[in-house]
């Protein structure tokens, strides 16, 4: 049996990598991908803890997260597509309509 903390540390590392990727990358699609990575890191933590708590509820939550992520991806990509059509760019620096 692989210890719980191995998985948890892997989950932490993946999460931080996702966050950094979001910060470092400059195109919207890849930034969106890094969000998916963070979500997956959370999923990993859920399933790990579900195993150690000997309960199936954690897996159910992951199931819901995946569903919500699918919905989110559909909407998010639609928005990105729209932005690209209107602005002809997906560089996140070029999109600052909300500048105060």
């Amino acid at each position: 049996m692989i210890p719980t903390n191995y998985f948890l540390i892997l989950s932490v590392v993946l999460f931080v990598l996702g966050a950094i990727a979001f910060f470092v990358k400059r195109d919207l699609v890849t930034q969106f991908m890094s969000i998916e990575i963070m979500l997956n890191a959370a999923n990993l933590a859920f399933i790990t803890l579900a195993r150690s708590a000997n309960s199936a509820d954690g897996q159910i939550i992951v199931f819901f997260i995946i569903t919500v992520a699918a919905a989110e991806a559909a909407i998010g990509l639609a928005i990105i597509l729209l932005i690209f059509r209107q602005k002809k760019t997906i560089k996140s620096e070029d999109i600052k309509l909300m500048k105060g």
Partner: protein
């Protein structure tokens, strides 16, 4: 079947909602059908529930339906709960029954009005509020209904708001009522402070348990009565009611004669234990009622506006109801309320029918001899007049007699009540006099019609005359459920019905001879009044004119309504406006506006600074979010 009583107010409420939202798109026919049907349904349920009450054992009163807890803060709790007991039953029946008839009448009366749907929306809303008022199981919810009917009254008085006088009359009614409501609210607060609950059952228990001293009871009772004088148009707050006649006539009949203005009487009857406990307060009620009864009657004598005469008559008759409450005859007061609802709404509707026939003419000086043109309006109006004048065998006689008999009987305890009785008798003469003055000037004598008006004269359509006939029937027959005690106690069915709610503390007995004598006096004064009117306005019309010229001061005083409006204007309205102006100029413009503008400037400045952080770049927001997470985690860890 009585459990469904809580539906009574909510059917008109639902109808109001539908009319308010979809009203503009609905056809007129459907609007009238729905509005009338909603009130009729309420009436049917009221009737079923009332029959159910008769079969319920007395101990099971009142039926209470707690819908939900409305306000809860510490020990302060108010439920939205409805109650059904004989007192509520009588009121609910009157409101929905008379209300239904008036709704039907309005279909004809308002047929050509542009605001047809708006009118019925308001009317349904009024029915709902009034039913909430009479069925509330606590003072706070009752106050909600109380304000609700006030609002509807305002809306309906100012129904033709493009007319300046109508808009002003609405405002006047609203403001005068606010003054009374202040007293009413203070009374509720005192009850809350000293009893801890506004539920009627709890209040009654506390009062009969001796939790309230007589002094406190007097204070509360008088504060509540101040509210009643506002809503029920008694001295000194009666001034709004005559002006309220600016509204459509069916509204005057429903709100300003039959139901809303009697809310004060209902409230006093509802709190009857309080008024029984405090004799002072009861005497105040009786005195105000008696003085108003006579005072308003004198003003009715000189008015030429047919609706205003009826308005003063209403004030006077409500005075009688308060006499009944003040002398301890709550059942009789309620009885007069109940009979008055029929004959007064009949009189108003008949007056409306006259106006309808005469293209809106309301000046009696321009009528006369209408008897032959209005073959249905005339007899019904006459029946109403006879009933209100107190001629035996008509409903008004029984109720008025019950009140005056009780007042006289109370004279055993204090001569004060003989005085009240005397005023009552005087008022009765005047009532018969002004009512028959109205009848004679309108329907008899020479024609004084405008030739232009005369061309278009016509009897009203059936939808208006049938309600008149129904009301006329009740104006005669409604009294027979409360026959005088002298004919046998069992025959006073009305009093028996109300007994569980109204605890008659002092039993008063009069000898049979005295009672018959009182009945004879009441009969005599009614006929006396009619006779005087006959002499004055048919036989020798010169007498009133001579009287007016011989006593010009008195006549002018009465004709100008004792200049009360002018006095109020000079004493209260003008100084208020003046001081408001001073405060507006100095405080509102400088301090409050300054503070508001200052806040706005400061906010704008802060916003400008903060907007530098809003780069619009999603990455920056992500970075700040991440930093926030780091700080938050650090806080949790260390």
């Amino acid at each position: 079947m009585t459990e469904i009583f809580w539906l009574i107010p909510f059917i008109p409420a639902a109808s109001t909602l539908i009319l308010a939202v979809f009203g503009k798109k609905l056809p007129k026919k459907y609007v009238s059908f729905q509005a009338c049907f909603a009130v009729f349904a309420s009436f049917v349920i009221s009737a079923i529930s009332a029959v159910g009450l008769l079969q319920t054992a007395h101990g099971n009163y009142p039926l209470v339906k707690n819908l939900f807890s409305w306000i809860q803060a510490g020990s302060f709790q108010v439920n939205l709960s409805l109650m059904f007991d004989p007192l509520s039953a009588v009121m609910a029946l009157v409101v929905s029954g008379v209300g239904f008839i008036i709704h039907v009448y309005s279909v004809g009366y308002m047929a050509d009005d542009e605001g047809y749907t708006r009118y019925f929306t308001y009317l349904n809303l009024f029915t709902f509020s009034m039913l909430i008022l009479v069925m509330a199981s606590n003072l706070v919810l009752m106050f909600v209904g109380w304000e609700g009917v006030g609002l509807c009254s305002y809306l309906l008085i100012g129904f033709w708001f493009e007319k300046h006088s109508a808009a002003n009359a609405g405002k006047k009614a609203f403001i005068v009522n606010r003054i009374g409501d202040t007293g009413f609210l203070l009374g509720i607060l005192f009850i809350f402070i000293h009893i801890g609950s506004a539920e009627f059952t709890a209040i009654n228990e506390a009062i009969s348990g001796g939790a309230i001293s007589v002094g406190l009871a007097t204070l509360i009772a008088i504060l509540l009565f101040v509210g009643a004088t506002g809503k029920s148009a008694q001295i000194p707050l009666y001034v709004w009611l005559p002006d309220a006649m600016e509204g459509p006539t069916p509204v005057s009949a429903l709100i300003h004669a039959a139901t809303m203005v009697t809310a004060g009487v209902y409230m006093v009857c509802r709190m009857n234990l309080l008024y029984t406990l405090s004799e002072t307060a009861a005497q105040v009620v009786a005195l105000v009622g008696a003085i108003t009864a006579v005072y308003a009657a004198t003003m009715a004598l000189t008015q030429n506006d047919i609706k205003r005469v009826l308005a003063y008559s209403t004030i006077s008759q409500i005075g009688y109801m308060f006499i009944g409450c003040g002398v301890g005859a709550y059942a009789a007061g309620m009885f007069h309320l109940y009979t008055h609802a029929f004959f007064k709404s009949l009189l108003f509707l008949a007056a409306g029918s006259i106006m309808h026939a005469l293209s809106g003419e309301i000046n009696m000086k321009k009528m006369g001899g209408l008897r032959k043109y209005l073959p249905l309006t005339y007899p019904t109006f006459l029946i109403g007049a006879i009933a209100i004048a107190g001629v035996p065998f008509f409903s008004g006689f029984f109720s008025k007699d019950a009140i005056l008999t009780r007042a006289f009987a109370q004279g055993q305890y204090s001569a004060f009540y003989y005085f009240i009785w005397g005023l009552g008798i005087m008022g009765a003469v005047l009532t018969a006099l002004y009512m028959f003055r109205l009848v004679f000037l309108t329907f008899h004598g020479e024609e004084r019609l405008d030739p232009e008006v005369k061309k278009h004269i016509h009897e009203s359509p059936k939808v208006m005359t049938i309600p008149l006939v129904i009301l006329a029937f009740f104006s005669v027959g409604a009294g027979y459920i409360g026959l005088p005690v002298v004919l046998g106690k069992k025959l006073n069915f009305f009093g028996k019905f109300l007994e569980p709610v109204i605890k008659e503390v002092k039993e008063v007995h009069l000898s049979i001879q005295t009672e018959w004598m009182l009945i004879a006096i009441a009969t005599f004064v009614a006929f006396l009044g009619i006779f005087i009117a006959y002499v004055f306005y048919i036989r020798s019309p010169l007498i009133p004119r001579n009287l007016a010229t011989r006593f010009p001061t008195i006549y002018k005083l009465m004709f100008n309504k004792y200049y009360v409006d002018e006095i109020y204007n000079a004493v209260f309205v003008k100084p208020t406006i003046k001081w408001s102006k001073i405060i507006y100029d100095n405080f509102d413009l400088k301090v409050i506006d300054g503070a508001v503008n200052g806040t706005a400037t400061a906010t704008g400045f802060a916003g400008k600074i903060l907007s530098y952080f809003q780069s619009g770049l999603i990455k920056d927001y992500g970075l700040i979010f991440l930093l926030g997470v780091i700080i938050f985690l650090a806080y949790l860890l260390f």
